[in-house]
Each structure stands twice: as structure tokens, then as C-alpha cells.
């Protein structure tokens, strides 16, 4: 009678081993989580996981940082063929956040962004190139009612999967503009002409 539990234990153990082996076999046959890009992917910017920061120097002293809380747009990305890539980023000027309600109003007023007349900051690429890990997007930056061509260096920071299995990619860029070129020449001096923008985007798509 003592053989029955012993036999049962052996069978259960064997079954467990078999299942484990099967799982291992399955894992071995599953495609890798991150695949090489076979074709260009169209991915939407996820505002909730993206950051747009700006930096301006105050009275030639400290760097002051602010942020924009709403960003949208689309990235078409092909790791192997930069010519197929494109970037369009739209930032809501009204979402500026400088940690002070009165200062936000001032930044949004006609003194600076003039957000009620020009509610969006927009970058639309015309050409994307790659130099090793560094990507370069050349396109028009539309801001404050003016448009100028700039080239932005950016890097791909990573790639993963979302909870629903969608593709996630991260891109990061830091670049500088001179605000007077876009007609924001008010208070150049007390506030630097140079503004550094840091854009970290998470994009997602199927």
C-alpha cells in the first residue's frame, strides 16, 4: 500500500519535469522579444511617457528649467533605412509648466510664446540620416509664427513591449535654439537668447 503514494509522487514529479522541459523547448522556439526591423514602423508619441524640457539662463546666472506637459505626433522608424524615417512632434504651448502660475501666464503671453496666437510648437522632419548610433533629423521647427530649418541629433534609447504587446521605442534629443530667430526677442539679456530643449519621447504602435 505504501507503493501507491510513492508511485504517485514519482509520476507527478515526472510530469512536472516533462512540463518544465516542454516549457523550456517552447521558450527556445519563441522568437526573440526584440526583432530586427523588417520594415518602417509608424508609431504614435505617448505623451504620458514623454518629456519636453526647456532650459534658459536667468540674468547670466542660473539655468532655469521648465517643461511642456502635452506632446503629440508620430515617428516613422526603420532602423535599417533612415530614408524611410520621419518625425513629427507637436507640443502644446499652453501646457507650459514653470512651477509658478503667474510665470506660466507670462511665458504664454505675447512677451514670449504668444500661445493664444500660436498654440503649437511643431517640428516636422524633411530628412533623416544615421551616423552610427546618432540619428540626425533635418526639418522645420515652427514656433511663435515663424518657421526655420534646423537639424536635430537624436538617439534611440531603447525598445520594448507594452502590456498589450505593442511595440514601444524611446528616443532622446538635446539641442539649442536662439529664440530671437523665431521672433521672441523680448527680454533677451535678462533671459538668455539661447534655449536648450531636451526631448525624450516614448512612441508606441502595433
Amino acid at each position: 500500500m505504501k507503493l501507491i503514494p510513492l508511485t504517485a509522487s514519482v509520476l507527478i514529479g515526472a510530469a512536472a519535469l516533462c512540463i518544465g522541459h516542454l516549457n523550456t523547448s517552447e521558450a527556445g522556439s519563441v522568437e526573440p522579444l526584440i526583432q530586427p526591423n523588417a520594415e518602417a514602423k509608424t508609431l504614435k508619441i505617448d505623451s504620458g511617457h514623454s518629456s519636453v524640457l526647456f532650459r534658459i539662463q536667468h540674468n547670466e546666472a542660473a539655468y532655469f528649467y521648465g517643461r511642456f506637459n502635452e506632446v503629440a505626433g508620430e515617428v516613422v522608424f526603420d532602423e535599417d533605412d533612415p530614408a524611410k524615417c520621419s518625425v513629427e512632434v507637436i507640443i502644446k504651448a499652453g501646457s507650459v509648466d514653470t512651477n509658478s502660475a503667474n510665470r506660466d501666464k507670462h511665458v504664454l503671453s505675447p512677451d514670449f510664446l504668444d500661445a493664444k496666437q500660436f498654440p503649437e510648437l511643431k517640428f516636422k522632419s524633411k530628412k533623416v540620416e544615421r551616423d552610427g548610433a546618432v540619428w540626425k533629423a533635418t526639418g522645420d521647427l515652427m514656433l511663435h509664427g515663424a518657421s526655420h530649418e534646423i537639424t536635430i541629433d537624436f538617439e534611440k534609447t531603447g525598445e520594448g513591449k507594452g502590456r498589450r504587446g505593442e511595440t514601444l521605442m524611446g528616443f532622446h534629443s538635446r539641442f539649442e535654439i536662439e529664440r530671437a530667430d523665431w521672433g521672441m526677442e523680448y527680454m533677451v539679456g535678462p533671459l538668455s537668447n539661447e534655449i536648450e530643449l531636451t526631448v525624450s519621447l516614448e512612441v508606441k504602435g502595433s
Binding site: N102, S109, D114, K116
Partner: protein
């Protein structure tokens, strides 16, 4: 901003420009009009003083031509409108009953052009029509009231009433978002301050020949920019706009005084009353939104 630079660009330069032009006009036109001096110099003096500060603050206004590198803003349109207004508004004196047509055209053109970006991108068609009709009507109402209060008068009373409005708008705009609109209002106030001092010395000096109309064009244009494109609330803007209507109360018997100095004092106090309320409200709102991160005007 450097206080010395602020004083130079926003006060001294426009005051000097207006003072010189008014003085020249006083010399040139003193014999042409039996009732007053400098009848034609008010409009150019105020416009050039305003444009000078505009240039010192932001450079030339953006071109209105199709190949312009930037979309003109409401302030750009206002600056450009001041140029034809120099020649157009003095005609009001010569038009008799037709002056109302001129005022209507100026009102509609000013509202439509200064709010051009709002009409093109923000306002839906029917909303835009309501803004155009409402603001044009308000503009004409204020123009009629200002004409009655100070349009035909000589001496310091007229520029002082307009100075009160310009200085009030300048403070209000600066408190509610835009230091630039505040500085432009301050420049107009400085020019009107120079006119007040000159008129005090030379009581026959007048702003009637287009000066009042031009001051109103700039005041109303700055007010629209402050409300529509910045963060000045409707209540505060309407309080400032109602100032000339309050000034009309000086014609009512209990407040009607024959002595010019007393009458001027009453008119200015009545003008300042709604402006003071507006500034107090704005200052309280500003203080309520201020936080531990300090005064953002500390440039």
C-alpha cells in the same frame, strides 16, 4: 529688465519724441487755427512715440506681405495701423456728420486686423462675427464718450484723462501676464504725460485734431491684445473701457464745476475710479497666485 533701460525705452524716449513733435506742431500750426495750437500734431506725436518704444522693445513690426518670415501678431497689426491713422484720424474734424462713417470703418478694421490670428484660427464664424460687432460697437461708444469728455477741449484736461487710462492699462496688462503690453501702454502714458505738461504750460494746446482718436486706437488695441492674447480678464478690461463713461458723470449737476481746475480734478477722479477698481482686482488675483518661488518679474 535693467531699470535704466526700462526708463529710457519705455518712458524717456516716447515722452521726448511726443514732446518734441507736439512742440513743433504748436510752432507750425499756431497761426492757422484761432481756437487752439498744434491741432494736427497730436496724432503723429502719439503714434511716433508709441512706434519708437515698439521698435526699441521688439524691432520693426513683422511685415504684412505674404512672404513675411513670421505671422504678424496683434501687436504688429496695431503698430502698422498707427501709421495710416496718423493721416486718417485728423480728417475726422473736417467730415461733419460723415465722421461716424470714418469711425465705423476704423473700428471694424481695427478689431478685425488686430484680432486677425484669432479670426483665422480660434473663432468660429458666428463667434467671430459677434466679437467683431460687439467690439466695434464698444469702440465707437468709447470714442463718442471720449470726444465728449475731452475731444474738443484745450489744455491739460484731455491728455490727463487719456494719461490716466493709458497708465491704468499699462499697470493692468503687466499684472495680468504681459509686461510687453504693459510697457507699450506705459510708452503711450509717457507721451500723454509729456502732452499734459506741455498743455499745462500752453493751455491752447489741443489733442482734438486726431490725437484723441489715435490715443483711443492704441488704448483699445492694447486692451484687445491684453484680453484676447494675454490673460487680462473681461471684467478688468470692461472697467478700463468704462472710464470715459464715468468721466461723463462730471457733466451732471452735482458734479459740474465751472472752475477749470476743479472740473479737471473731478473728471480725472471719475476716470480713475473704475481703473483703480480694475487694478485692485488684478493685483489681488496676482497676489493670490504668487507662490514661494518668488516674484517672476525679478528680471
Amino acid at each position: 529688465m535693467d531699470p535704466q533701460e526700462l526708463l529710457l525705452t519705455g518712458v524717456l524716449a516716447p515722452a521726448l519724441a511726443a514732446g518734441v513733435l507736439l512742440g513743433l506742431g504748436w510752432k507750425v500750426w499756431r497761426r492757422e487755427d484761432a481756437d487752439s495750437d498744434g491741432r494736427w500734431s497730436g496724432a503723429p506725436a502719439l503714434a511716433i512715440a508709441f512706434l519708437l518704444t515698439f521698435y526699441l522693445l521688439s524691432g520693426m513690426p513683422v511685415s504684412l506681405l505674404p512672404d513675411s518670415p513670421r505671422t504678424p501678431t496683434g501687436l504688429d497689426w496695431l503698430a502698422w495701423l498707427a501709421v495710416p491713422a496718423i493721416f486718417l484720424l485728423p480728417l475726422e474734424q473736417k467730415l461733419g456728420r460723415w465722421k461716424h462713417l470714418l469711425r465705423g470703418v476704423v473700428a471694424v478694421a481695427m478689431v478685425r486686423l488686430v484680432l486677425n490670428t484669432a479670426f483665422e484660427s480660434t473663432f468660429e464664424a458666428d463667434v467671430g462675427r459677434r466679437w467683431l460687432a460687439g467690439l466695434s460697437a464698444l469702440y465707437m461708444l468709447i470714442w463718442a464718450a471720449l470726444t465728449r469728455v475731452c475731444g474738443q477741449r484745450t489744455g491739460a484736461s484731455s491728455p490727463l484723462v487719456l494719461w490716466t487710462m493709458a497708465a491704468g492699462l499699462a499697470v493692468l496688462a503687466a499684472l495680468t501676464g504681459s509686461a510687453k503690453i504693459g510697457q507699450l501702454g506705459g510708452a503711450l502714458a509717457a507721451a500723454l504725460g509729456a502732452a499734459t505738461v506741455l498743455a499745462w504750460c500752453r493751455p491752447r494746446l489741443t489733442l482734438a485734431g486726431g490725437g484723441v482718436g489715435l490715443a483711443l486706437l492704441l488704448l483699445f488695441g492694447l486692451g484687445m491684445n491684453a484680453h484676447v492674447y494675454s490673460y487680462t480678464e473681461s471684467t478688468e478690461i470692461l472697467l478700463i473701457a468704462s472710464a470715459p463713461l464715468f468721466a461723463l458723470l462730471a457733466d451732471l449737476p452735482p458734479l459740474r464745476f465751472k472752475r477749470p481746475a476743479l472740473r479737471t480734478l473731478v473728471v480725472v477722479l471719475l476716470t480713475a475710479l473704475p481703473i483703480g477698481i480694475a487694478i485692485t482686482r488684478a493685483a489681488m488675483a496676482f497676489a493670490a497666485e504668487s507662490d514661494e518661488y518668488g516674484d517672476y518679474y525679478d528680471y
